[in-house]
């Protein structure tokens, strides 16, 4: 059993678990708790909080963020293709055109459906 290379992994997990549990439990036993108002405030870069933490957030932000991520990540996949354009040859070119067409349909759909307009 000791010869198994997995013993070390098991030991590693046990040590990690012990350290993490100790860090979570030990301070709770030894500290004195004297909470004040400023101590229990949420940390906001050292300045007093200006607004309630739980507020309503326009869903438009999420829409913009999602569209950005989608098109940004897909644009990122152009780079390796551009670097290896000559090596990939005609096949790579047609594949990329197909990719752009699929992307373009999605872009047109989002645009026409008003995904980009800030209403």
């Amino acid at each position: 059993m000791l010869q198994s290379p997995w013993t070390l992994v098991a030991v590693y997990f046990l040590v990690a678990l012990a350290i993490a549990s100790a860090m979570a439990i030990v301070p709770g036993i030894f500290t004195r708790k004297r909470p004040t108002k400023s101590k229990s405030d949420p940390y906001e870069c050292g300045v007093p909080p200006t607004s309630a933490l739980i507020g309503r957030f326009p869903v438009r932000f999420y829409l913009v963020a999602m569209l950005f991520v989608v098109f940004d990540v897909e644009a990122a996949s152009f780079f390796p293709w551009a670097v290896k354009l000559r090596a990939l040859g005609g096949f790579g070119f047609v594949e990329m055109l197909t990719f752009i067409v699929v992307l373009g349909v999605g872009y047109a759909y989002v645009w026409k459906k008003g995904g980009f307009s800030w209403r």
Partner: protein, 480 residues
Amino acid sequence: MMQLPAIDYAVLAPLIILVATGLLVLLVDLVSRQAARNVLYGLGVAGCAASFAASLPLSGRTVTTLSGAFAADRFSWGFDALLLLTLAVTFLLSSLKRAEDGGSPGSYAALLIFCTVGGMIMAGAANLIGIFLGVELLSLALYILAGTGYPRQASQEAALKYVLLGSLASGFLIFGSALLYGAAGSIALADLATAAASGAPLFVAGFGLWLVGIAFKLALSPFHTWTPDVYEGSPLAVTAFMAVAVKAATFSVLARFIYTVFQHDSAALIPVWALAILSMLVGNFGAVRQGNLKRLLAFSSIAQAGYIVLALSGVGSKGLSTMLFYLIAYGFMNLGAFATISLLGDGGEEYVDIEGYRGLFFRRPWVATWMTIFFASLAGIPATAGFIGKLLLLEQALGGGPWGIAMAATLILGTLVSFYVYFKVIYQMFLPAQGQAPQFAGNAAASWVAIAVGATGVMLLGIVPQAFYLAQPYLAAASR
């Protein structure tokens, strides 16, 4: 010049046609000012037919492409046909309920199509990455579809629960795949067999995590807790699609994996058999107290998933055709049952309270008759597809050693309990009518077509099961 993998476009044609249909649906939705839902759904059905036509030359052949990542054989062909039929019937059911596509039939139809593409990738995937790609494509589209009954709060709840728990399951699946790759040094299923035989701890851990992800998608107990809520909240047509297509696609993955990687008496498969036994018990006993028809069918689908696992025990590749037979039978009876439910309720609202079915036979004898047949088939009454399916499953399991026998015994016990469950619904329909009766959907032609499809399948497979064996599929690469 770089070495590129050879691509056999004839093998991928059914997928390419379906993807193109999805894009076309989106474009048509943009161009036509007044989005005509029936035109979009009609396009979807036409895409199914074209994709099926493109898969016809592949029937009976065994070819792989994309460096062995994607296989087309009789096994995947049967699943593709089932998935395409399910998609077409789902479009029929969707055309009835006005409010259920979230007011955006274009994206709804496109998502259903992409979902099916994911299922077809799963049916043909011959390596771990292909499996994960298919599962994710299927799941991501379904998360949104579960929420398309948007104004209903239950539908939002279903979408949120599904996406949170589903992402967790995907995490298990991909982490398990990584460990399997670590154990075997290859992502091809065929190469995993060596690692499986050695019983390396890394392989066992990987398979365990991978199995959790798959069991979640199959709603095998104890990973079934999302099922009743998601089935209840999703729009009816989406629930029907979920119950049939997702289960079929995921079982194709599990079957290909187990048949390619393991011997049937491998000790690593004991967790699979245990999941099956637990699912049969939880599904059938859980259904007993349900008063909502969609929740009842959700528990029923948990139990049925447990039954289908029996096809994987036992010796020989006959189990694969048994599994396909049961899944096709299950598809017909579920689509039929959901189609009859879609007839009730008016103005886009669905009616799923079992009490409301009281006296249905005296008001709508044909609806009640077909519903009785579909529920009798779910219970496994002779002369229906469900009976033959269970018979084949029992035969397969009895060749599977002690675990096979334990599963067979649980199947019989579960079936006894399920008689009570399904006959509770049938019983209501034949009681004298009383109180407020639900309205019927106005223009129901589409549902009747769907009922006809389901009824033909259930009767045909129940009375002349040989019809299926004329085209008996098998996995050529993985006969035990």
